[in-house]
């Protein structure tokens, strides 16, 4: 037997349809009081809607005036402050006024945030930069769809992606390194080469005391235990850099798995984000995983020295990651992988991270403050203490003149004007 439905479902005629009965004083009374309530409700709804409309309208009004003002001040302000080698001051944009929106990679988000805050507080008080760290893919998509003023990506745009956004200019900002972290009781120093790491992640090296690992670690007492492999389950630039490196050093990896942000892993288990991988490695004895250098340092994880192309075992540091960029021929559009660099002191698993800006199609109201910010970030920003405290590697100084030339070449309003002030 089912439940009796509640009374209000049972008998719908409980409504006041017995209207013909004029003698029903009770009903008339109820109606009298309810009319007032409806009026109040209606009033409340109308006022709420008008309030919302006012709030939205206010937003729309503010933005254009602010950007219009920025165009004037940015164009008119003369160069001031300490001159740099190129004759343009680093704080060229100090009188700019603009609100810039960007989206993209999560890996450089901490340093970008620090830069944007620093720039807003100490250089250009009128420039507010909002950055959403949604991931490199989202950064490229939003940049291509023109919904942001700039994008950010760890992996350079592919030729296909570039075909959809031909006006894109890559500007490298900092260098990141990916480290192999492990959890081996009593072992604090480990050496690995790329071939071995590829075999571990392919599942062909299964034990820690495998001859391939033991041969590189004389004197280390490796356990006769299964290797617990951990990887990033979410699509990430970190995974892209890692698989890019493995594809360069291992032909087997290249054919079986390849380079991807979310490849089809032949072995192991996935943790979500750097913190997920870190947790798997920390809590699972005999585990190995890969995370970004800054994450490993902050969490005091043990990480391995990696053999580079020159045959040396290199500890991942800010300096050895910078050295990787110096050992690679960098093309004009900066779209290059710097993994497995030839430099003597180069750590092999590293990557540029890029800001994506418009070469010429952007509006000067946005592009000038952005170019001025890029100029600042390439000089004072890159030299700021934040970069190293957050464990990012600055670009090698040999690259600065080329970056300067790139920023100077940026145009706005369809190529009519140079974006950077003071030229």
């Amino acid at each position: 037997m089912p439940l009796n439905p509640p009374f209000y479902l049972q008998d719908r005629s409980f409504n006041f349809e017995n209207d013909n009965d004029r003698g029903n004083k009770h009903l008339m009374q109820i109606r009298a009081t309810r009319k007032g309530k409806w009026a109040v409700l209606l009033l409340a709804a109308v006022s709420l809607i008008s309030l919302l409309a006012a709030a939205c309208g206010g937003d729309d009004d503010d933005t254009p005036t602010a950007t219009a003002a920025s165009a004037k001040t940015a164009a008119g302000s003369p160069a001031a402050g300490s001159p740099t080698a190129a004759g343009i001051a680093a704080n060229i944009g100090k009188n700019d006024k603009a609100q810039l929106n960007g989206a993209g990679a999560t890996f450089p988000a901490p340093i970008y945030q620090a830069w944007f805050d620093d720039y807003n507080k100490n250089v250009a008080k009128g420039v507010q930069i909002n950055y959403q760290s949604l991931g490199s893919g989202a950064g490229i998509q939003q940049f291509t769809a023109n919904t942001v003023d700039f994008g950010a990506s760890d992996a350079p745009m592919s030729n296909d992606e570039l075909a959809k956004a031909p006006d894109a200019q890559h500007v490298p900002t900092v260098i990141g390194a990916v480290v192999m972290t492990y959890n081996l009781a009593g072992i604090t120093s480990l050496k690995l080469d790329g071939e071995t790491v590829a075999k571990i992640y392919l599942g062909t090296i299964k034990k820690w005391n495998d001859p391939a690992i033991a041969a590189q670690n004389a004197g280390v007492n490796l356990p006769d235990k299964d290797i617990q492999v951990a990887y990033r389950s979410d699509s990430s630039g970190t995974t892209f850099v890692f698989t890019d490196y493995l594809s360069k050093v291992s032909a087997d990896w290249k054919t079986a798995v390849g380079t991807n942000k979310a490849p089809n892993w032949p072995a192991g288990q996935g943790g979500k984000g750097n913190e997920g991988v870190t947790n798997v490695v920390k809590q699972t004895p005999n585990a190995i995983g890969y995370v970004e250098l800054n994450y490993a340092v902050e969490n005091k994880l043990a990480f391995a020295d990696m053999k580079n192309k020159a045959g040396k075992y290199i500890k991942p540091t800010i300096e050895s990651a910078s050295a990787a960029a110096a050992g690679v021929t960098i093309p004009d559009d900066y779209r290059v992988s710097i993994t497995d660099s030839t430099g003597e002191a180069a750590y092999p698993i590293t990557s540029f991270t890029y800001l994506l800006v418009f070469k010429s199609t952007g509006k000067c109201a946005q592009q000038t403050p952005l170019a001025n910010f890029l100029w600042w970030s390439a000089h004072d920003g890159a030299a700021a203490a934040d970069v190293k405290t957050l464990n990012y590697s600055p670009l090698p100084s040999s690259l600065l003149p080329r970056i300067e030339a790139t920023i100077k070449s940026l145009k706005c309003d369809g190529g009519a004007k140079a974006s950077l002030s003071g030229q």
Partner: protein, 323 residues
């Protein structure tokens, strides 16, 4: 009310009443609200089909039964995700329902008021915990507990069943099942408790008068009366289990393989979307949207099957599904 109902039939409202502007406005308002709901569902379906069409065309039916998911080689088979979602959800459904009914019986039939009130509140509070908090608790507390204590007990007791022999780990299929059970428990429990409490007193008194014990009373008078409501409650829980994303992603291990045992890392449909969507482009993105489409279809199918089940259990009477 008795004046307007004659022989169970409603007396039609008078013409004068039906012409009142207020009546028209009210009818219009409710109809418009209903249309909004329908158009949302139609809209979601349209967008999912439209956006996933590239993948539907390229992968065909092998998308459903293929077990290789390789964005690098553009091979997309969603079977491991479908399997993971089905296993975790059904496990959670079965265990959460059993536990929830036991808790509800205790609270309604056995415990005194001063125990049942606070315990009810506490269990309902579980439903208010955000899923990311459940996930973090899952990897830091529940996972190690399963690996070190709970898992070995399960293996010792059920290790002779083929699928239950394995090495307990922090993250894996089993952790995903357990966290889902815990997460849907409050929903199922709260509804089951209300349904059991709604069993008329006369039923209980009748069977007690025949000399039944408390357990017999629950067995004969309470549970049969409440079963359609309990089934409805578990469907409500299942809906949450199928769509749960973040907590499961954190504990399930995220490995695109058919799990060889209950502790092996696995994957669910919602997890793969959460993991890969924000970096996906082109056909990879279309394939992920097709996973979402499949998830929606599976949810619909589950609801239809569950409703048929309720309908059968109650012998064709209208199910009381409180949603």
């Amino acid at each position: 009310m008795s004046a307007s109902t004659i022989g169970g039939q409603r007396k039609p409202a008078s013409l004068k009443n039906r012409l009142k502007p207020g009546e028209w406005a009210f009818t219009g308002l409710t109809a418009a609200a209903a249309m909004i709901m329908i158009s949302v569902i139609v809209g979601v379906f349209y967008v999912l089909i439209d956006q996933s069409w590239e993948s539907v065309r390229e992968n065909g039916f092998s998308f459903v039964y293929g077990s290789t998911w390789d964005p690098a080689k553009e091979t997309f088979g969603a079977w491991p995700f479908i399997l993971g979602t089905l296993i975790t959800s059904i496990f959670a459904l079965v265990f959460a329902t059993i536990i929830a009914v036991l808790v509800a019986l205790f609270l309604v039939e056995i415990a005194p008021m001063w125990i049942s009130r606070p315990v009810s509140y506490l269990v309902e509070l579980l439903a208010a915990i955000p899923s990311v908090v459940f996930g973090l608790w899952g990897i830091f507390v529940m996972g190690p507990f399963i690996r070190d204590h709970f898992g070995p007990v399960v293996v010792a007791l059920f290790g002779w069943i083929p699928f239950f022999d394995g090495t307990p780990q922090i993250t894996g299929l089993f952790s995903g099942c357990v966290i889902l059970t815990i997460m849907i428990l409050p929903t199922v429990m709260a509804v089951s408790r209300d349904v059991i409490a709604a069993v008329p007193r006369s039923q209980r008194e009748g069977i007690m008068a025949l000399g039944a014990t408390r357990w017999e009373m629950i067995q004969i008078a309470v549970l049969p009366y409440a079963r359609s409501g309990v089934l409805g409650a578990s469907i409500l829980g299942l809906a949450r289990a199928v769509g749960e994303t973040l907590a499961v992603t954190l504990v399930i291990g995220n490995s695109v393989r058919i799990p060889e045992n209950v502790f092996a890392p696995a994957y669910t449909m919602a997890s793969v979307i959460a993991n890969q969507f924000n970096e996906a482009t082109g056909i990879h993105r279309a394939a992920l949207i097709e996973v979402a489409l499949l998830l929606l279809l599976i949810t619909f199918a589950i609801n239809v099957v569950a409703r048929l089940l309720v309908w059968r259990v109650t012998g064709g009477q209208r199910a009381v599904v409180q949603e």
